[in-house]
């Protein structure tokens, strides 16, 4: 096999010229999708984690049920439920003025991903908040710090250091699970890959997709390492 043949097999210049730009677009869509839903999911997840730790029984059982549902069912099913399920109540959404949201695959996907990752992140954060030594809370009380200051300045920074590893893991899982978005007409990385394959019947586009996913994960991995070093600078 010559070098040119080998190149044609894995990085065909014609194919690259035709679909390369679309892959870049797909990469950006995947990045945006994951970045937005992961960030919103972190905020929601923190609230849910606090609900799980609350002394209020109603809040505790509500957030518990939330986590139970979103961790217990497949992301794909949740996405379909939102997009096809809720999307079938067109009249109702038009009445309440939310049809623009639920008819749009992009918004539905963002919502499904956010709700799903929030459940996982809530459990990570809950565990990491519990892992902060009791003495830290006592020191805060003895210094008469307000609960909010104690949480923001003492408990949260220490628990994030514990959480960063599992949160990174969740982010990486999210990046790969985001390929599901391609099933509801989103042209994310997997969406453009499927399109390119259906037109060219050349399997190498899946190889490109795999390499590009790997690339994102590698960027994430390195960023996490930096953040971890920053949060844990007192341990060096």
């Amino acid at each position: 096999m010559s070098l040119a043949e080998l190149q044609n097999m894995f990085l065909n210049p014609d194919l690259l010229e035709r679909y390369g730009p679309r892959f870049i677009d797909g990469l950006l869509v995947t990045g945006k999708l994951v970045a937005i839903s992961f960030t919103l999911g972190a905020l929601l997840g923190l609230l849910i984690a606090l609900g799980r730790l609350s002394s209020n029984r109603f809040l505790r059982s509500f957030t518990g049920a939330y986590v139970y549902f979103f961790r217990g069912s497949p992301l794909l099913a949740q996405l379909f439920l939102l997009y096809y399920g809720l999307g079938s109540f067109k009249g109702f959404w038009q009445d309440v003025g939310l049809w623009w949201f639920f008819r749009d695959a992009w918004f539905c996907t963002l919502l499904a991903f956010t709700l799903n990752t929030a459940a996982y992140q809530a459990e990570i954060l809950r565990g990491s908040i519990l892992s902060v030594a009791q003495g830290q809370r006592e020191a805060c009380k003895a210094l008469n710090l307000s609960r909010w200051t104690a949480f923001r300045k003492i408990i949260l920074p220490q628990s994030l250091l514990v959480a960063i590893g599992p949160l990174g893991n969740e982010l990486i899982l999210m990046i790969k699970a985001s390929a599901i978005a391609s099933l509801v007409t989103i042209y994310d990385l997997m969406g453009v890959t499927k399109m390119a394959f259906s037109r060219s019947f050349d399997f190498q586009v899946y190889l490109w997709a795999a390499v590009l996913y790997l690339l994102i994960v590698e960027v994430v991995r390195r960023s996490l390492k930096l953040i971890e070093g920053r949060l844990g600078r007192h341990l060096q």
Binding site: Q136, A142, H234, L235
Partner: protein, 261 residues
């Protein structure tokens, strides 16, 4: 090590006219079925230095933790400067920040430098400016002999140094009363004296102190009263020379026989 009594021990409780700053009456505390404190009555006067000792499980730590409400007693009343801490009033919160506490395991904030540990509460609770808080922190860090380490993290310090930082951090709130919960029990033996020296100095400055400790040398040197607790009750309450030389109760005798070699 700590030989001569440094202070004149006063005065009978009857003739003592100093203001009562901690007034505990009928305090009962339970850990579910376990009755930890059984009707404690205790008056502490301004500037008094009290050492609490007793076997483990006797309730001495619980007692001082009740004073700054780390534990909530089921029955009884604690007045600090005539303010009832159990009422959730603004005044109660203010009084609480006049009580400093030093823990057995230091409980410094590990992710903050020494100086940040010291300025957090003064800025956030007392509303001091950063500049003022840093001045204050440096003053107390100098007092505990650790000013040169201000920018280090707690993990970079020895146990004795960490405990001295914890004392400085508590002092930065300029408390009227200091509580010590076995401050030297987690330390290597060669670091005990540096912490005790700081506490002796603090006692000399007229601070009201309640110390749970087994450092009997410290008790002899500094305490005005030694309280011996057993089974959730105050069994003895006497000046140190009386407590060490002529303990009244057999349990105190047995306790002293075990710890004084």
């Amino acid at each position: 090590m700590l030989a001569q009594p440094a202070y004149v021990h006063p005065v009978s409780p009857v003739t003592d006219t100093r203001k009562v700053v901690v007034d505990i009456a009928g305090l009962n505390k339970y850990y579910s079925a376990f009755h930890v404190l059984k009707g404690i009555d205790l008056k502490v006067r301004e500037g008094e230095r009290i050492v609490l000792c007793g076997p483990s499980g006797s309730g001495k730590s619980t007692l001082i933790r009740c004073i700054n409400r780390l534990e909530i007693a089921e029955q009884g009343r604690i007045l600090i400067n005539d303010t009832d801490l159990s009422l959730p009033t603004r005044e109660a919160s203010k009084v609480r920040s006049e009580i400093g506490m030093v823990f057995q395991h230091f409980n410094l904030f590990p992710h903050m430098s020494v100086i940040d540990n010291c300025i957090l509460a003064p800025m956030s609770v007392r509303g001091l400016s950063r500049k003022k808080a840093i001045e204050l922190a440096q003053h107390f860090l100098t007092k505990v002999g650790i000013a040169s380490q201000a920018d280090k993290y707690p993990s970079q310090l020895s146990g004795g140094q960490q405990q001295r930082v914890a004392i400085a951090r508590a002092l930065c709130m300029e408390p009227k009363i200091m509580l010590f919960d076995e401050p030297t029990s987690a330390l290597d033996p060669e670091m005990v004296s540096e912490v005790l020296d700081v506490m002796v100095n603090l006692a000399g400055s007229g601070m009201t102190m309640l110390c749970v400790t087994h450092e009997m040398g410290f008790a002899r040197q500094v305490a005005e009263r030694v309280l011996f607790l057993d089974g959730g009750m105050v069994i003895e309450d006497s000046p140190p020379e009386e407590f060490f030389n002529a303990p009244k109760s057999p349990r105190a005798k047995a306790f002293l026989a075990q710890i004084v070699h």
